[in-house]
Amino acid sequence: MKSLAKHREIWLGLAIIAVIILVTLRFPRFSQPGNLLTIFNDTSILMMLALGQMAVILTRSIDLSMAANLALTGMIAAMLNAAYPAIPIPLIMALCVVIGGLLGAFNGVLVWKLNIPPIVVTLGTLTIFRGLVFVISGGAWVNAAQMSPDFIGLQRAVVLGLPVLSWIAIVVAILFFLLMTRTPLGRSLYAIGVNPTASVYTGINVGLTKFMAFVLAGAVSGLCGYLWISRYVIASVQVASGYELTIVAACVIGGISIAGGIGTVAGALLGALFLGVINNALPVINISPFWQMAISGTAILLAVILNARGERRKGRVILKTAEVAHV
């Protein structure tokens, strides 16, 4: 299974390189380092979100509320900044992580304590969070003029040749890599996905671990809330609407098994990067952006079909809750 997963990431990496080479054949400027870094920067937010979603999917759950969480946290950050420009941006970022984490914890508690299937919980909180964005903003937008220069400028500042946004993504990726491979929590996430019943008997608290996965996904969504708003300099109810499934798509392309237990940090990053490269390549080779959706849809289907062999045995396990033993 390990070699299969490894193969998958190599193939995905090759596919990304192939797309880049094909586009470069017609437009040499596409593969210039500056442009590649731009693509990386453009994809940073999706990469982080995919990592958060991966933690949840590994445990046989799914979080459909991430984009709504992002919109809500982003709106709070933007309104705070508009009202009190003096609050330092790092503090706002920390606050976003906390708020996002709390929203994730709400999902997590419902899954953990009430044993409601994650897809139902997050379907509900998806609409609740979106509605709350409207309630707190009154339907109004927060635009660039209302945001402080620091709020907008921080992630654009270039450090060692890379924008801060890219650096944040790199740091988050490293943290996730350490979490997944070097900590008991990371091992528990995988263990639950592979076999929830056995995990209970090895002393893993299945419910608590799922709760932690949701908190993690929420915290990442919150962080990305600030980053998204300050990147596109508009906060509205519509922010990232429908994006929840793009995040899942990036995970699926990255070889993270929707049946739980299988997936790597590199896979999630490459899956997001694949979508990012395609989206950046389309306008360059003069394909109208209207093709974007159809092409990413095809990419998702191809990725799933290629991945089918590994997942065949458990097609619909994502809809099942882990069998929690009676303690």
Partner: protein, 331 residues
């Protein structure tokens, strides 16, 4: 802690028929519906009026038509997230057919046909290639809507003939709309199909344990394929109704319908884990969602805020029986 599936076990109706009926999921939904109805009639003077109540039905009929088929699909343990995209594609194709001078009957055939084909495509990917339906339909969701965007771009198709518009705006008898009648007819059909036929029993069997069903001689893949086709078909029908009601086609049509249809199904007491549920519950849930959105609309609550109530309702209604059982076990 008891798991969710055990909680949805039907009470033994032979023991105490009256008590089990009163404690069923459907009675809870009736209670919720009546409460909202009473709240609505007190909160707005414009609610208790035959035309208001008729308008109310437009809030849910199109989504509820899909929810009927989706209920069977979810009971069988699968899911279809592409239904809204199917509406978009079917609607786009109808618009395209209109540009070539198609008349009303052809338009309807195109809409329903495209829906059926899309459903068959989903069904083939899931049963033929043995892929997980949640991922397949996330993919086809982008694919179907993407094709609509490719065809339409930033344009829209309009100028549908008046006879076509009747499907979404016409009244069969006084205030009873064609959409409502169609929904009621299909509700009866799906009720009979799920609760009174061998096919329906097999759907439940597959949802409870598809391996056991396979070994008992149920053609699991064929039935799942049919269920995907049915969901596609209902989406095609919904596309006809919605397009006729709006009188135009845009690629962004029916955005978010998939989640609302699934919310109806889950609110209706269908277990998202498969194997349990009833059509009566889904019809009641559709009515409740219609009542909530329409009642809040009369109070000038914006659509996006209604989503808080729908989401809250979904979680509360699901959580209540679980909390009640936990409380009873502790006492």
């Amino acid at each position: 802690m008891s798991d969710v599936k055990a909680g949805r076990q039907l009470p033994n109706r032979l023991d105490n028929p009256l008590k089990s009926t009163l404690l069923s999921w459907e009675s809870l939904l009736v209670l919720v519906a009546v409460a909202i109805f009473i709240f609505n009639s007190y909160s707005s003077p414009y609610f208790l009026n035959e035309w208001s109540l008729s308008d109310l039905t437009f809030n849910f009929t199109e989504k509820a038509l899909i929810a009927l088929a989706m209920a069977l699909l979810i009971i069988s343990g699968e899911i279809d997230l592409s239904v809204a995209a199917i509406i978009a594609l079917a609607s786009t194709m109808m618009g395209l057919a209109l540009q070539y001078g198609a008349d009303t009957s052809v338009l309807v055939a195109v809409g329903v046909g495209v829906g059926l084909l899309c459903g068959a495509f989903n069904g083939f990917l899931v049963t033929g290639l043995k892929l997980p339906s949640i991922v397949v339909t996330i993919g086809t969701m982008s694919l179907f809507r993407g094709i609509s965007y490719i065809i339409l771009g930033d344009k829209s198709f309009g100028n549908y003939p008046a006879s076509f518009g009747w499907f979404g705006q016409g009244y069969v008898w006084w205030v009873i709309s064609f959409e409502l009648v169609l929904f009621l007819v299909f509700a009866v059909i799906y009720f009979v199909l799920l609760h009174r036929t061998n096919f329906g029993r097999r759907v439940f069997a597959i949802g409870n344990n598809d391996v056991a069903a396979q070994f008992s001689g149920v053609r699991v893949d064929r039935i799942k394929f049919i269920l995907f086709c049915l969901t596609g078909l209902m989406s095609g029908i919904a596309a006809v109704l919605l397009t006729a009601r709006l009188g135009s086609t845009r690629p962004s049509i029916a955005q978010g319908f998939e989640l609302e249809a699934i919310t109806m199904v889950v609110l209706g007491g269908v277990s998202i884990l498969g194997g349990a549920g009833s059509i009566v519950g889904v019809v009641l849930a559709a009515l409740i969602m219609g009542l909530v959105t329409f009642g809040l609309g009369l109070l000038n609550v914006p659509g996006i805020v209604m989503s808080i109530f729908i989401g809250g309702l979904l979680i509360t209604v699901i959580a209540l029986p679980i909390l009640f059982r936990m409380w009873r076990q502790r006492a």
